[in-house]
Amino acid sequence: MPEPLQSKTPRRGQERYVAPPDETPLQATDSLDETAPPASLWGDAWRQLRTRPLFLISSALILLVITVAVAPGLFTDQGPRDCDLANTMQGPRAGHPLGFTQLGCDIYARVIYGARPSVLVGVLATLGTVLIGGTVGALAGFFGGRLDSLLSRVADIFFAIPLILGAIVLMQVSEGRTSLTVAMVLTVFGWPQVARIMRGAVLEVRQAEFITASRALGSSSMSTMLRHAIPNALSPVIVIATVSLGIYIATEATLSFLGIGLHPSIVSWGGDISAAQNQLRVAPQVLLYPAAALSLTVLSFIMLGDAVRDALDPKGRKR
């Protein structure tokens, strides 16, 4: 401690003390650091994400799955329906790394070709739920009042029917049973979850002063909602959408497993697992490979959602 400048009450430790001014340079109050690079909210999140192993692994896996779904021909020259009963339940051999199913189909080819319908269902159902749920949630949260009561009750009704139960009933009576049908059925029962999350986020943003500021500028409610409220409420919706994409893929497989998902003529992981269950005791690998592909795909989306949540959640960032 430097020498005290003045000492009127010489109680030890409480002498008058003045730090030398150069020790604590007085910066110009509240000046801006002009050297740091500009950083937008999304830019920050991206910088965060780039360094996360969870994000890198999951996005690499998702890229792979999407490539397989778009162009399965790049990965195998076998067709999924090139089956020969002579090959029934045979083990792996050159050109057929995973062996054959009971009907003598190449397991590897079926796993590769099974990706497309699953990914298609996931993507379409996610688009559908985010569009419907997002719109309903944003309107209910932003405008409140009677509109909110009405929309929330309607959402409650759909929410009261668990996804798988609702899908069972609706799929029972649907015709066609393509990826589109399954995605539509999942959308019907999946949108309330997105709506709830969007509504909550918009309700929170609506309190912010920049919303009032925008109204005070003369912007219409609609434009305030679109330009300010929704962009700021998007992060939890992005997270739930990513996770849901995985969940929808799993649900589609479950429905196909129950025999009411995709039509049996469509090559899908769920259908193949269902077909393989009877030979579980003798040939577990027939069931295992499509199950592994399915689980890994679902896992990548859920992992991605988790990584994105960490990057976007301001609370998580402090940790």
Binding site: M1, L5, Q6, K8, T9, R11, R12, G13, Q14, E15, R16, Y17, V18, A19, P21, E23, T24, L26, T29, D30, L32, E34, A36, P38, A39, S40, L41, W42, D44, Q207, A208, E209, F210, T212, A213, S214, R215, A216, L217, G218, S219, S223, H228, P231, N232
Partner: protein, 589 residues
């Protein structure tokens, strides 16, 4: 002021310590260093702080946010949050170094020897346990009392802390308490085991001034009678000077200056302390003067004429219903009734604003001052035409706001703009500063892209921010910088009136002074009129020409600022004035 301190010494925990040596420091912090670990780097929070507290003494640590004052106090209790740790220095409590004491050792000290009164009464009580339970817990943990005795003692402690009807209140939950009542509960808990040192971390900053004063008076009385030493952490220099014998001023993790309270205040030596004393709103006594008033008023009239011309060119007709002369805003018998959604079938009615009338003269600042629940912000919302009026009317430039059609309302928006309290909430975090300031121009279709950019540059210059700021995002700016951006956005449409709703309350003292000066300069330059909503009479004195004092929705007093300060006519106004911390302290030259 009466204190319900039990007189007898037969009660548990009520033993006067006789072995106390008042000449030895109770707490002696020497060259304390604290760092936090963030993104793999050590960030220093406290760099060599020293302070000494003697038994029975009140010592205040004063500083702005980020000065390390709270961190130092928490280090004393061994309660550093997250990754914080003491890297060097000593914390001597009764001669023993506790800077690196183990959990067990600290547990023995906490509550029993060192008590804590935390900052925010809303978040510091556990919502799922009763008040009584949470006080009892402190008694049982420190071996003061148990069983039925603890129950009795808890009620006594609450009563001692100034809570009426304490016995019944022990069965209630925190959410049934007001902020002041919760803070009294926290004081009861902090003093439950009769600690020798009480750390009070901004104990009243979340409360209204009058409640703040009552609680501080009470705490003062209690600790004096019990002989408890107090380490008072505060951002308010006036409050520190009023309550403490010794002051430690901290700045960026270091002690800038320390010494006897009055001496530091009246004769500050360090440049930082000097500026702090100058800026403290509770201590300064005059309106910021940076322009000749008559010129300002003249400019305001000219600005109004320009605005008229603009509106007429756009709209054609502009028919005032009354000639309001020099008054740009006239509020007549304004009333707002809210219907609360109660538990009953019919909602309860709340009269938030009750028959309020006042007017704002062109080129001047009218302040509306009041505590929480006074209805001052509701008035602002109605003047801004953002909230429907229940009865009465607001005349802007002679035109009744309720009679505006859609087109006229849109034009009105250009002429009156708001600035809000929370600098973190008033800018859209997804918008760049450029987009934020440009938004009003775009909404009102002013100019083309090029002229708008020139305008944004000009506005940033007006609020003294470098033009490079426009590429940045709100999360990169400090509170004061954001508030300046908010001012720039409000000025974009060349309004005549700014409605500032607690526009500087969330800012640190020095930044607050800076923004107030900026607002004052802008008023002079552009002839603006301000409606300034605040709870802080100190701020009123710095910026306002006229004042309205509101209480529970009603206007209790309206006069010029000088009159209100020199000669308050209403008891409530006097009460508010008396409650300004440090208001009675005479400053040296």
């Amino acid at each position: 002021m009466s204190h319900a301190v039990p007189a007898g010494s037969d009660r548990p925990g009520w033993v006067q310590r006789t072995d106390r040596d008042d000449t030895q420091p109770l707490l002696d912090v020497r060259d304390l260093h604290v760092t936090f670990r963030s993104n793999g780097r050590d960030v220093p929070a406290v760099q060599g702080a020293s302070l000494t507290v003697y038994p029975g003494q009140t010592v205040a640590v004063v500083g702005e946010s980020g000065s390390g004052k709270s961190t130092s106090a928490m280090a004393v209790m061994g309660l550093l949050p997250g990754t914080g740790r003491v890297t060097s220095g000593q914390i001597l409590f009764e001669g023993k170094d506790i800077a690196r004491a183990g959990q067990r050792e600290m547990m023995a000290l906490r509550g029993k020897s060192i008590g804590l009164v935390p900052q925010d009464p809303m978040s510091n009580l556990n919502p799922v346990w009763t008040i009584g339970y949470q006080v009892r817990e402190a008694l049982i943990a420190n071996g003061v009392a148990s069983g039925a005795a603890a129950k009795r003692r808890a009620a006594e402690l609450l009563e001692e802390a100034g809570l009426a009807d304490a016995e019944r209140r022990t069965k209630q939950y925190p959410h049934e308490f007001s902020g002041g009542m919760r803070q009294r509960t926290l004081i009861a808990i902090g003093l439950a085991a009769r600690p020798r040192l009480l750390i009070a971390d901004e104990p009243t900053s979340a409360l209204d001034v009058t409640v703040q004063r009552q609680i501080l008076d009470h705490l003062d009385g209690l600790t004096r009678e019990l002989g408890t030493a107090v380490l008072l952490i505060t951002h308010d220099l006036g409050l520190a000077a009023e309550r403490a014998e010794h002051i430690v001023v901290m700045y960026k993790g270091r002690v800038a200056e320390s010494g006897p309270a009055l001496e530091v205040l009246q004769d500050p030596q360090h440049p930082y302390t000097k500026r702090l004393v100058q800026a403290a709103p509770s201590l300064s006594s005059r309106r910021i003067t940076s322009a000749v008033r008559s010129e300002v008023l003249e400019r305001a009239e000219r600005a109004a004429e320009e605005a008229h011309a603009r509106v007429e060119a756009a709209d054609g007709v502009h028919a005032p219903v009354a000639d309001t002369g020099h008054d740009v805003i006239r509020v007549e018998n304004l009333t707002k009734v809210f219907t609360l959604r109660g538990s009953g079938v019919r909602g309860e009615q709340l009269k938030a604003v009750d028959d309020v009338s006042f007017s704002v003269r062109r080129g001047t600042t009218m302040a509306i001052v009041g505590e929480s629940g006074s209805g001052k912000s509701t008035v602002a919302q109605m003047v801004l035409n953002l909230l429907p009026i229940t009865s009465g009317r607001v005349l802007f430039d002679g035109v009744d706001l309720t009679k505006l059609d859609k087109r006229q309302r849109f034009d009105f928006r250009r002429r009156v703009q708001p600035i809000f309290q929370n600098p973190y909430g008033s800018l859209d975090p997804t918008y760049s500063i450029y987009r934020s300031i440009e938004e009003p121009l775009r909404v009102h279709k002013v100019g083309d892209a090029k002229s708008r950019e020139a305008r944004v540059r000009d506005l940033l210059d007006k609020v003294s921010l470098p033009t490079s700021t426009m590429r940045r995002f709100p999360n990169e700016l400090s509170g004061g910088q954001r508030q300046r951006v908010a001012i720039a956005r409000a000025l974009a449409l060349q309004p005549e009136v700014l409605v500032c709703d607690e526009a500087v309350s969330a800012l640190d003292v020095l930044v607050q002074a800076q923004i107030l000066t900026l607002l004052n300069d802008l008023q002079a330059q552009l002839g603006l009129s301000y409606l300034f909503i605040t709870h802080d009479l100190g701020v009123v004195r710095q910026i306002a020409d006229d004042v309205c004092v509101m209480q529970k929705g009603r206007l209790v007093e309206a006069a010029t600022t000088d009159e209100v300060f020199a000669n308050p006519r209403q008891a409530y106004t006097r009460q508010l004035l008396d409650a300004i911390p440090g208001g009675s302290i005479a400053l040296g030259a």
